[in-house]
Subunit: 204 residues, 2 copies
Amino acid sequence: MTDTIDIAPKLRGRPREFDMDAALDEALRVFSERGYHAASISELTEAMGLTAGSVYKAFGDKRGIFLAAFDRYRQVRQPLIEACLAEAANGRAKLFALTAFFAESSCGEIGRRGCLVVGSATELALFDEEIAGRVATAFNLDERRILDLIRLGQADGSISQHVDAEGIACAILCLTKGMRVIGKTDPKPERMLAVAEAAMKLLN
Amino acid sequence: MTDTIDIAPKLRGRPREFDMDAALDEALRVFSERGYHAASISELTEAMGLTAGSVYKAFGDKRGIFLAAFDRYRQVRQPLIEACLAEAANGRAKLFALTAFFAESSCGEIGRRGCLVVGSATELALFDEEIAGRVATAFNLDERRILDLIRLGQADGSISQHVDAEGIACAILCLTKGMRVIGKTDPKPERMLAVAEAAMKLLN
DNA sequence: TCTTTTAGGAAATGATCGTTTCCAAATCAA
DNA sequence: TTGATTTGGAAACGATCATTTCCTAAAAGA
């Protein structure tokens, strides 16, 4: 889906001079901090190190920048989560690693910057069907990953067979997204870590 | 805090003709649906049934409308929650009533409209200290109410004495606010109710 | 009654927004 | 080389935004 922008070997014409990923990293930072509507083209272009003309050539319009930044955000964040999960031994430990990762993401500067998917859900989903679809897809994949980890835990013996896996998966999804909301108010890290620890009781 | 607007017996001059609460109910609906920056003065005034001049007389500026609507939102919502809790017999049952209330609030039209406090947290808290303070106050009061219910449950025997009450309270806070985020994607009511039921395991 | 004060409302204001235009620069195909 | 194609970038564009102005209407105080 992001390939159309990232790869797309434009053979003819003057080659693009700027680094697409670096530009999108700046754009997603501005969108995360300001939100979509409060992020002006001038602030975006300045952060991206481009002029308005170049940006409109590359992305079409402001919404195009946003959609590309949205995809980039997930593309950057996914590997961080996967790396975090890889270090844990079993299903239960991976789920703690996941909630602890969100606890850390909900504190400090990153926490106050907020989650671009959560921000899109609250600010844009109601009146933009395409963005609503991408948000729903992101949440569904998040939930599915949690569900898979619960099933993994049930298979490796770290989680009971008799729990409502689907209900718990959706509960952990809500919990982690809610952490990102509370993270906007600069909570103390130990409070968020306590949430991650408490969340483990959902698996009993 | 809202008294300055709601009460304030302006003795002299032409009396206000419009119903402040009704106008604010419309304003908070527009702000909830559109978000702060996408809500234009013209859409707000039309929804409130007023002209721009009257609105600026009454609220000073757009931000003033928002702050009044924010307070009104909480003023309206609080009694609904209290009424919900009053029907439950003990601490544990009240906590289920609370999460079930949020489950219901996260579905259908109201769910897709979203929570004005959550929306303010994600869209405005980073660059508006006063709004960030009101959001933090709202979340702190929510968390405190949950904590009090846990303590009530511990007193009436429906919740174990040996749980981390503070950690669980913050976890339930995150869970309920997260439900409001997921609620923007039109989830099935039974899924959200399963979350409320799963949340009860946090109390064991 | 007359003045003061505040609200209602239409119209105008300046600023900023997202976007387009136009042209030079850089690459590929022929 | 020449022509086609695409990018970079400054400047200009119309639209919309939040806000103000100015006037009339309605109430209280003197």
